[in-house]
Symmetry: C2
Subunit: 221 residues, 2 copies
């Protein structure tokens, strides 16, 4: 299972396929053709088949795709077939919001710790997850084999925390601070940036430019 050179564009679409297939399962749909799926998702059937065939032949000629099977295979591709231990660094509003977000757990991301510098928060819990002080960060990460750290703290502190996390062996950083961490972290550490401001600015751009006639749907993310 070592696929090489899959383009960003394809990887960006995989989670969306996964979501739509999940909905089909909920609706009790057993099989689907690339054509039907393309109509639902507003992409071309050709693109669906091309995308999937980067990873293998999951369909059957004359039949289409088995929804449950394809859903499961995409889960494997995305690494959702095993649990990822996650901590959240920064237990402010956003950090707590993410900790409360049960959906992630269904997708095999398990929040096992929350960290903050603010002593007022010490000992408090969110959804049964204790808020710890930041000085316990390193020992906690090492002892619990934490794989992913979510950074929900001010830009000014994000880089310092990233450094500390890298040093104690974190494998991936999910970054909500307004900074491109990818530029300053070793390339062995995965960084996924979420720039909410940028998303809002794109909305604003479209608001100013496409007030009347605007292009067909699709996730602008």
């Amino acid at each position: 299972m070592d696929e090489k050179d899959i383009s960003r564009a394809v990887i960006r679409r995989l989670p969306r396929y996964y979501r739509y297939l999940g909905e089909l399962i909920e609706d009790g749909v057993e099989r689907i053709s690339s054509n039907e799926l393309s109509a639902r998702m507003h992409v071309t059937a050709s693109q669906i088949r091309q995308d999937l065939n980067n990873f293998g032949g999951f369909g059957q000629q004359g039949y289409g795709y088995n929804v449950k099977y394809l859903h499961m295979e995409i889960a494997k591709i995305l690494g959702l077939d095993r649990t990822h231990k996650m901590i959240i660094v920064g237990a402010g509003n956003l950090g707590q919001a993410l900790a409360n977000y049960v959906q992630f757990e269904k997708q095999s991301f398990k929040v096992i710790g929350l960290f903050d510098v603010n002593p007022v928060l010490k000992g408090l819990s969110v959804r049964g997850i204790e808020i710890r002080m930041i000085d316990q960060l390193e020992s906690f990460v090492r002892e619990n084999d934490v794989e992913i750290a979510t950074l929900t703290l001010p830009k000014s502190k994000a880089m310092e925390m990233a450094d500390r996390l890298v040093k104690c062996g974190i494998k991936a950083i999910w970054n909500f601070a307004h900074t491109d961490l990818d530029l300053t972290v070793p390339s062995s550490v995965i960084v996924e940036n979420v720039h909410l401001s940028e998303s809002l600015m794109r909305l604003s751009y479209n608001l100013s430019h496409y007030q009347k006639e605007h292009p067909q749907g699709g996730n602008t993310q």
Copy 2:
């Protein structure tokens, strides 16, 4: 100022230029060449010049770009030169987190109302913004000329709320529910989807596939 046919890819990069230019201003940098900027941002100088020239010639041969001026021009392009009134529908953790997020206001997005169905929240305030019950939604939107509605509520209720918002004249929806609203809202209404799960899944993909050697940085968002 009616530029046509600007590609998605270009628009996606604009907010990032804007952010880097903002940092340069903070650092007291007055002018910058496409070459210097390209080194900082890890994109090609050619791409920067091409991107900007979609909107006009903001530089000067032999000199480069005036940082403040370019920053201001990109603000105009993104529609950040005027205030956008925004409400947040769903005053749970995520809704409150976003309401507390002061940064948006600097970028001209002003949260003027929070809405929820939960009577427990009635009358409470977040950063001076009152939480109102959902039955006041329509009148509030109309009376206050609300432009943007942020949806931070469960998928099951998102579509219904989107419909109500569209009916009372909302211009744009910033959608955090796990649903592609763009497919079911009139094309005159701008929709920007934020799928946090999808971001986390991309992280997970990279975690499984690029543990050792992984491609050069850049915002995978």
